[in-house]
């Protein structure tokens, strides 16, 4: 399958917040209630369409456990996008966000798009972190925010696709150096060189596809 762009993502966050489930829901459209601990890093991939262009997402799902932290750090630099996940039913996973963010900012390239995800929104009765708190945190740190449920698939597609849109827009704006593969972006064979100085095409596509979120 050919693609216009290839984006590398990583998923980070405390252990048990549902990172692997989010990935499984996105790539396989299924939910697995019982999942083993991720050891090190696991890989998944899917094709999406943005602005009429095929975009391949390669996603590395990292282990949340502290023991694997040094290993997972190796993945920050080469990623174009990161999903930073916490669990809305466990306050401490929200409290740890600052540490995760510092880690990510320190080891990644400065243009990496980070999406903040409050997962398990289906468990509203056990909620410990208000949606407003997540929004406030995201605003304060310049992140995109969304609450998702890997169980019901609510907002899962949107989380991955919106991150891709953000990256895509940055490419159009010329922020990313797409020729440097260390940024986590690769141009595919399918890519027909569109002129980024033509904002009409980019904006139009952006507005039509943003209808889904």
């Amino acid at each position: 399958m050919s693609y216009a762009y290839l984006f590398k993502y990583i998923i980070i966050g405390d252990t048990g917040v549902g990172k692997s489930c989010l990935l499984l829901q996105f790539t396989d459209k299924r939910f697995q209630p019982v999942h083993d601990l991720t050891i090190g890093v696991e890989f998944g991939a899917r094709m999406i369409t943005i602005d009429g262009k095929q975009i391949k997402l390669q996603i590395w799902d990292t282990a949340g456990q502290e023991a694997f932290r040094s290993i997972t750090r190796s993945y920050y630099r080469g990623a174009a996008g990161a999903l930073l996940v916490y669990d809305i039913t466990r306050r401490e996973t929200f409290n740890h966000l600052t540490t995760w963010l510092e880690d990510a900012r320190q080891h990644s390239n400065s243009n990496m798009v980070i999406m903040l995800i409050g997962n398990k929104s289906d468990l509203d009765s056990r909620r410990e972190v208000k949606k407003e708190e997540g929004e406030a945190f995201a605003r304060e740190h310049g992140l995109v925010f969304m609450e998702t449920s890997a169980r019901t698939a609510a907002n899962v597609e949107e989380a991955f696709i919106n991150t891709a849109k953000e990256i895509y827009e940055k490419i159009q704006e010329g922020v990313f150096d797409i020729n440097n593969e260390a940024n986590g972006i690769k141009i595919g064979q399918q890519h027909s060189p569109t002129n980024p100085s033509l904002p009409g095409a980019g904006n139009q596509g952006g507005s039509t596809s943003s209808g889904c979120c």
Binding site: K8, G40, V41, F43, Q58, S74, Y75, H107
Partner: protein, 850 residues
């Protein structure tokens, strides 16, 4: 050497004439200089001298100079020359090889390099320091750092891997080396990465994440693909390291469309066919095939295998492999590996298997590729590895391929249209009866794979008739197999093959068992073999296989043959062999070394032809049936037929297990209810206790009340008497006014006392009222509980009735219901009765009270 000496002179100053310093002294002075000299030039010269001395005086330089050298790495970052000297010196010290210069030095032990490595690794910062120098663009520094890291890795792979994993960006730095325009750097970095990725999944994943596959394919392409030099081989070896047993990377490789980049590399240029293959090309191709196999190895995750197989078909890789298979001039070992690879690419994938069945060999007349392959399998002159590969490929072709299995058996069946061309079936039958025992074995196993998990073909194969000699009537294949077993010139290996074929054929197929038992002398042969007393490892194997076949005949017997019913055969075993002996002989199969060898992996590996005895799929069958057969045979009682669960037909045993489930469920429910009853009893007791407490409190209060009333009347009487007494003598005797006043006060006291007591009574009455209300509510609650309990008891009786009914059904079905269950039930009934009586007795108690 002169230059060196003069160099030393300049560094150390001219030595005193006649006093030649020893090596150790020189090293000491040099280390001193490196440590303390303030001039960079001096330190650099000392480092250069140390590097020169490190080959001859390795121990001295290592022991005294290591910390000084590390200090140089920390402090003199800016000077590339001194850094490269320091790195080179360290590299010499830790190298595992022995230098020529130190050959006559007895103090240098074999593992001195390893010991110095350990010293260097004591502080992991040192490695991080060296990793940092990979970023230095200067050739000398970068190259020396690579060499040092490679040597350290060779000595202490695990330790370095751990350090690399925790140093941020270490892998990124290493990966950047692959795009270094200086080939020496790139090539040595490749070797370093090959070492680094060995057996460490986490590093493998990070390397893959850092675009390793892209870069490696770029290098391979730049170097001329499979025609390239050893660098291509190195790239492929690294790729193989990244993919082997690493499902995440396999997925990434597939998703990254790298299979598509691999495919064109298998296309053989026409000029190669003419000019022959260079040894390097053979090595490269071998590695490429290994990379393909790493993706579809049967030990991988199923979904990865099938998605890779699909991609390999659609991108033309399978086609390219098949072309190689049928092409000319392919070296034998590459051909063998290609056959193995094709096997794994098609294994279990119907479309790929179909594709292979349509491939035609460019022979005259054109024949299907499979037939050509089988021709070489039964050909005695072909090398062993090639014949094994063909069998493996053929097994992969049959694996979960009902169509392929059916079409093979079809070629053996008598058909209306005469087939003139050679077929697979004919080849295999020919192989079965050839004089080459390996051909016998290979053909038997190949035929066996056409029957695996395919009952229809087992029955079809019964119809196969063979014309043994002109004039004599045709015999069935099954009969011929039995005859072959009894021929003394049929070799052991061949017999093992036939026995495996028969076992697979008869297993789970009652019709086949019946046909086998009807074949004359079949049972007699088996009994004779099992009771034989030959002492030889391989004879044990034959005896074991015969007992297994015997067991299959018992297990899948439909009891329709007179004299060969299940119990007849069991009787035979008990009388002629003995149960113990039978079980022991059965166990000999899995104890044989050929068993563990074959059960390891589906691929057939053998160093010599005689090693080939058992087959992977047969081992699976044996493992599944051994315990079942043992149970069946041991469950047979000499005193008469004994219906055990295992002898029941599958429907009956299903039914039995269903009922068992129901009984188990009800048992659980019953236990639950028992627990509930117990809980209710406890509750009941506490309520009763509370009630008696309340009643006693109540009666106490009544007593008190009566007492107070009595006191009150007494007090009132006394007060009245006192009043009349005081009223009378007042006018008559005014002098008594003194006591009168006293009496008056007493009266008022009594009156107030009276009022107080009345109040108290009022309060007591209220409290009494409350208490009695309480007690009545308690009684009500108790009534309610009692009703609950009665309901539960009723439920219990219902359950009991149900159980009895099921038991009846079970008995009707012919199942011996465990007497234990009955005992349990009776036990339970008794218990239930006692509980109910005790309940009624406690029932009456509070009622009479209230």
């Amino acid at each position: 050497m002169d230059f060196l000496k003069s160099g030393l002179k300049t560094v150390l100053g001219a030595p005193e004439p006649g006093q030649q310093p020893t090596g150790a002294e020189t090293v000491e002075r040099l280390v001193e200089r490196v440590n303390s000299s303030t001039l960079l030039d001096d330190r650099r010269d000392a480092c250069r001298a140390l590097k020169a001395l490190s080959r001859k005086y390795r121990i001295e330089v290592g022991a005294q100079g290591m910390s000084a050298l590390i200090q140089v790495l920390q402090m003199d970052r800016a000077d590339c020359e001194i850094i490269s000297y320091a790195l080179d010196t360290l590299c010499q010290i830790v190298t595992p090889e022995q230098f020529d210069e130190e050959a006559d030095n007895p103090t240098v032990s074999v593992n001195v390099g390893e010991q110095f490595t350990e010293m260097f690794l004591k502080n992991s910062e040192n490695v991080t320091l060296v990793l940092g120098y990979l970023e230095e663009y200067d050739f000398r520094v970068r190259w020396s750092a690579i060499k040092l890291l490679t040597t350290l890795l060779a000595n202490k792979t695990k330790d370095i891997q751990e350090i690399v994993l925790v140093s941020p960006m270490a892998v990124s730095k290493l990966m950047d080396l692959l795009i270094d325009s200086r080939e020496v750097i790139r090539n040595d970095a490749l070797l370093l990465l090959i070492q680094l990725t060995k057996g460490n999944a986490n590093i493998q994943k990070i390397v893959a994440f850092e675009n390793a596959f892209d870069r490696l394919f770029d290098v391979v392409r730049d170097e001329g693909c499979s025609d390239g030099g050893i660098i291509v081989e190195d790239c492929l070896i690294l790729m193989l390291n990244l993919l082997k047993n690493n499902s995440s990377n396999q997925q990434f490789f597939k998703e990254g469309s790298y299979i598509q980049r691999l495919a064109p590399m298998f296309t053989i240029a026409p000029e190669t066919e003419e000019n022959g293959w260079t040894p390097q090309k053979v090595s490269n191709m071998h590695c490429m095939l290994q990379v393909v196999r790493a993706l579809v190895s049967p030990s991988n995750q199923l979904q990865i295998i099938s998605s890779c197989q699909k991609t390999m078909r659609t991108c033309g890789l399978l086609e390219a492999l098949c072309n190689m298979l049928m092409g000319s001039g392919v070296p034998a070992d590459i051909l063998t590996e290609t056959i193995n690879t094709v096997g794994e690419v098609i294994r279990g994938d119907l479309s790929n298997q179909e594709y292979l069945s349509t491939v035609m060999a460019p022979s005259n007349p054109p024949r299907p590729a499979i037939v050509v392959l089988l021709m070489s399998m039964v050909n005695e002159k072909q090398p062993l590895s090639l014949r094994c590969a063909v069998l493996y490929c053929f097994q992969c072709f049959q694996y979960r391929n009902e169509v392929g299995q059916a079409s093979l058996v079809q070629t053996l069946l008598p058909s209306s249209s005469e087939v003139s061309s050679l077929t697979a079936g004919q080849l295999l039958c020919g192989g079965l009866f050839s004089t080459d025992s390996l051909a016998n074995w290979l053909s038997a196993v190949a035929l066996m794979h056409a029957l695996i998990e395919n009952p229809a073909q087992k029955e079809q194969l019964l119809r196969v008739l063979l014309a043994t000699s002109v004039g004599s009537p045709p015999v069935s294949l099954l009969q011929q197999c039995t005859t072959l077993l009894q021929q003394s010139n049929y070799k052991l290996q061949s017999k093992v093959g036939i026995l495996m074929l028969l076992s697979t054929w008869l297993s789970h197929c009652q019709v086949c068992v019946k046909a086998f038992l009807s074949t004359p002398s079949s049972v007699a042969y088996l009994i004779a073999q099992v009771s034989a007393n030959e002492h030889d490892e391989n004879e044990y194997l034959i005896q074991g296989l015969c007992s297994f076949l015997m067991g299959i005949c018992i297990q899948f017997n439909d009891n329709s043959l007179q004299n060969n019913k299940r119990e007849d055969l069991c009787q035979l075993i008990v009388k002629r062999i003995g149960l113990e002996m039978f079980t022991a002989k059965l166990g000999d199969v899995s104890k044989h070394e050929a068993y563990s060898r074959a059960a390891k992996q589906p691929q057939i590996r053998a160093k010599s032809a005689s090693e080939l005895l058992l087959d992977y799929e047969f081992c699976k069958l044996f493992k599944a049936l051994e315990s079942v057969i043992t149970k069946t045979v041991n469950g047979y009682d000499v005193n008469g037929p004994n219906l055990t669960e295992l002898t029941l037909s599958s429907e009956a045993s299903d039914l039995v297990s269903q009922y068992k489930d129901i009984i188990r469920e009800q048992d659980n429910k019953m236990n639950d209810m028992k627990q509930k009853i117990a809980a209710l009893e406890v509750q009941n007791e506490t309520i009763q206790r509370q009630l008696t407490d309340a009643l006693t409190a109540n009666s106490q209060l009544t007593d008190q009340n009566i007492l107070l009333k009595a006191q009150l009347t007494a007090a009132a009487g006394a007060g009245a008497a006192a009043a009349s007494a005081s009223a009378e003598p007042e006018p008559a005797n005014p002098t008594t006014s003194e006591p009168h006043v006293a009496l008056n006060t007493q009266i008022s006291f009594y009156q107030s006392e009276n009022a107080r007591l009345l109040e108290e009574i009022e309060a007591l009455k209220i409290s009494l009222h409350d208490k009695s209300r309480n007690s009545s509510s308690v009684v009500e609650e108790f009534e309610h509980l009692k009703k609950d309990q009665e309901d539960l008891l009723e439920l219990l009786t219902d359950q009991e009735k149900k159980i009895l009914k099921y038991k009846q059904i079970l008995q009707n079905l012919g199942e011996n219901v465990d007497t234990e269950d009955e005992l349990d039930d009776e036990d339970f009934m008794e218990r239930r009765e006692t509980t109910s009586t005790s309940l009624t007795s406690t029932d009456d108690h509070p009622r009479s009270e209230s």
